[in-house]
């Protein structure tokens, strides 16, 4: 740490420099993190880009049903570099979800949710839920056809709640249909939620720095020979990751900016014309498939639970179940590297998520209905049945003695 008198003077009164030094420089990090560990910091930098471009877009956007669509087009056409801001923002969301999904699957594969990282994991799930809400409301703002009809489908889900469903939907809309009050409140909340995400990310990092990073071996660091300081090793590695990531991200922004979008959203919202296929953005497709997977649940001819309510319960359940994962998987071994059976089912589960995404992109007819049901059944069976059974029956391979013993293979430790 700098010994400059001004730095010292401030630090004695508000220890920001000690804090930064401790958390970003000395922070002892396992020496064996692979490139899958880059996606946490990548998600962090995209969040910053999204907030930055979002604040600037907000200066030009008009949240009114009569002007929203045209104000977005004005940003695209007349605002200096407005097209860049908007494409950075709209593609940034897709990149955010890609980074977070990879981050999440990395956590699943290497058992990063296990003790003592349960709360760290739970904070991550809360971030995911907040991201989904934010992305959904943001997609409504350009007030195109998919904005309007996507909002109609999703808000109508709440009407499935017994007894008070209709009232809740009207309360959400601020009226008897989606309209200007809906748009303005979504805009207000779309501006608010990213800061909530930011706050939870902070808690996520506090928890991380308390329990320390997991690593590909899934064993705890036993001493200084197993760790390296965050700076310069992981700062250098993270910045290289940013470089590669931005090449991909900006490749889309400059050369295929509408790749992730739906053409229908370039048609202004029209409450009188329903698009032939209402599909959500790609990152919601697996959940959309789960929502539409279940039929009415009948007991002796009475509809006990409507398909809609069951679908809504399963859709929210598919994320909420992640909160319980640290206890469903009670195997003491974290990393899949030492869990031969868990590893195979992990990849089947990954394929199942892709399958559900594909089903979600197609109309719920014939073959896709069956596929959606199989995929949904497997999704839940994986967490509720398969993972506990594996934890009980699987015989894990022997764990290495320590990180340094495994990584350095008996060689002398580094000159750290």
């Amino acid at each position: 740490m700098s010994t400059h008198p001004v730095v010292k003077w401030i630090d004695e009164r508000l220890p920001v420099f000690t804090f930064l030094n401790h958390e970003l420089r000395d922070y002892p990090t396992p020496r064996n993190l692979n490139y899958w560990w880059n996606f946490g910091s990548i998600a962090g930098i995209v969040l910053v880009v999204l907030i930055g471009t979002g604040v600037m877009l907000a200066m030009q956007y008009t949240p009114h049903v009569n002007y929203a669509f045209d104000s977005v087009e004005r940003i695209m056409r007349d605002v200096n570099y407005g097209w860049l801001l908007r494409y950075l923002h709209s593609n940034g969301v897709s990149m955010f979800f890609i980074a977070v999904y990879i981050h999440l699957f990395r956590g699943l594969y290497f058992g990063s949710y296990k003790s003592p990282r349960e709360i760290l994991w739970a904070m991550g799930v809360i971030i995911l839920l907040l991201m989904m809400a934010t992305a959904f409301m943001g997609y409504v703002l350009p007030w195109g056809q998919m904005s309007f009809w996507g909002a109609t489908v999703i808000t109508n889900l709440f009407s499935a709640i017994p007894l008070v469903g209709e009232e809740i939907v009207n309360w959400l809309w601020g009226g008897y249909s989606i309209g200007n009050p809906t748009l303005t409140r979504f805009y207000a909340l779309h501006y608010l939620f990213p800061f909530l995400i930011f706050a939870v990310v902070f808690l996520h990092l506090v928890a991380l720095h308390t329990v320390k990073s997991n690593n590909p071996l899934g064993i705890d660091a036993t001493g200084p020979q197993d760790t390296i300081p965050f700076h310069p090793y992981y700062t250098a590695k993270d910045f290289f990751g940013f470089g590669v990531f931005f090449l991909v991200y900006l490749g889309f922004v400059f050369y295929a900016p509408d790749f992730f979008g739906e053409p229908d959203n370039y048609i202004p919202a029209n409450p009188l014309a329903t698009p032939p296929h209402i599909v959500p953005e790609w990152y919601f497709l697996p959940f959309y498939a789960i929502l539409r997977a279940v039929p009415d649940i009948e007991v002796f001819g009475f509809v006990l639970i409507t398909a809609k309510l069951a679908g809504v319960i399963l859709m929210f359940g598919s994320i909420l179940i992640l909160f319980f994962l640290p206890w469903l998987d009670f195997s003491k071994v974290r990393s899949s590297r030492f869990r031969p059976i868990f590893k195979q089912f992990f990849w089947i589960f990954f394929a199942d998520c892709l399958l559900l995404g594909w089903v979600g992109a197609n109309p719920p007819e014939g073959f896709f209905v069956i596929l959606g049901r199989i995929g949904t059944a497997f999704y839940f069976a994986y967490f509720i049945v398969i993972i506990p059974l594996i934890a009980y029956f699987e015989k894990p391979r022997p764990l290495p003695e320590s990180i340094s013993a495994e990584v350095l293979g008996g060689k002398e430790g580094g000159k750290s």
């Binding site: 056409r77 097209w83 090793y233 290289f240 900006l250 400059f254 370039y266 089947i348 892709l354 580094g414």
Partner: protein
């Protein structure tokens, strides 16, 4: 309960097989296959062919603008096609806009200025429907971005008119189009050979006009495209070099550990 890796790879292979299953014939009829064409504005270095854009604007002006608006454009935007200020003033002056109120509080009509938005052919959607047998001619500003397959679809639609196949009945006021979803479109064939006389002497075939008009409409949908690709090139080249440097730094820093 040992599961072999073949099971996993089999499952993944199965997924790929499933994904290659073609949609049902009914769905295929709804969504016709659109042929991919080469456009001047394709690719990393693509830019709009100026002469095609100008011809396309002429086609729009003479054949389309009677029913279809371009409300998101202003006349001054035409400078991007290579027209000078006087040309643009002249284009704008052909239209009248309502302005005001004046000092007496009255609204008045005046000639459109380069800063005005393109004047739409109908005052509102009801007027548009009333004049078009109940059908609503869409505004074309974003049409290329608002349709699947974009420019290829617009070209296919403009050139997709033909005789109704045997055994198919179309209602009155509907026309057969090979590219339109459902093949039944309310717009009569908009382009006929030599319907315009190109200022540059290019023969005005249907295919030529369709191609020019599509190029023009690709520009109206993405007027930022050339600036975007140019900036993108600079940014990507910089990032490539910068990322290579970051990779070198990473290797150097980590070499201390091994």
């Amino acid at each position: 309960m040992r599961v072999t890796p073949t099971l996993v790879s089999g499952l993944i292979a199965g997924l790929f097989l499933l994904s290659s299953v073609t949609p049902s014939p009914a769905a295929a009829a709804e969504m016709p296959e659109i042929e991919k064409r080469d456009w001047s504005f394709d690719g990393i270095f693509g830019s709009f062919d100026r002469t095609a854009q100008q011809r396309g604007y002429q086609v729009y002006n003479e054949l389309c603008s009677g029913c279809h608006g371009l409300r998101l454009l202003t006349y001054r935007n035409l400078a991007a096609l290579g027209y000078d200020e006087d040309d643009i003033k002249a284009f704008a002056a052909e239209y009248e806009v309502t302005d005001g109120p004046d000092e007496e509080g009255e609204m008045y009509q005046r000639e459109a200025l380069p800063s005005d938005h393109f004047v739409s052919p109908f005052a509102n959607t009801n007027a548009a429907r009333a004049a078009n047998n109940g059908a609503l001619p869409p505004d074309l500003s974003l049409i290329v971005k608002a349709r699947k397959n974009g420019a290829d679809y617009i070209y296919a639609l403009l050139t997709g008119y033909g005789d109704t196949p045997d055994g198919r009945e179309l209602p009155d006021g509907m026309y057969y189009n090979a590219a339109f979803p459902g093949h039944q479109i309310a717009m009569p064939q908009p382009l006929d050979d030599d319907a315009v006389e190109y200022a540059d002497g290019t023969p005005a075939t249907v295919n030529q006009m369709a191609s020019d008009l599509t190029t023009f409409l690709a520009w109206t949908a993405s007027p930022e495209m050339e600036a975007r690709k140019l900036l993108g090139l600079k940014v990507m080249l910089f990032l490539l070099v910068f990322t290579a440097m970051l990779a070198a730094i990473k290797r150097k820093v980590w070499s201390r550990l091994h």
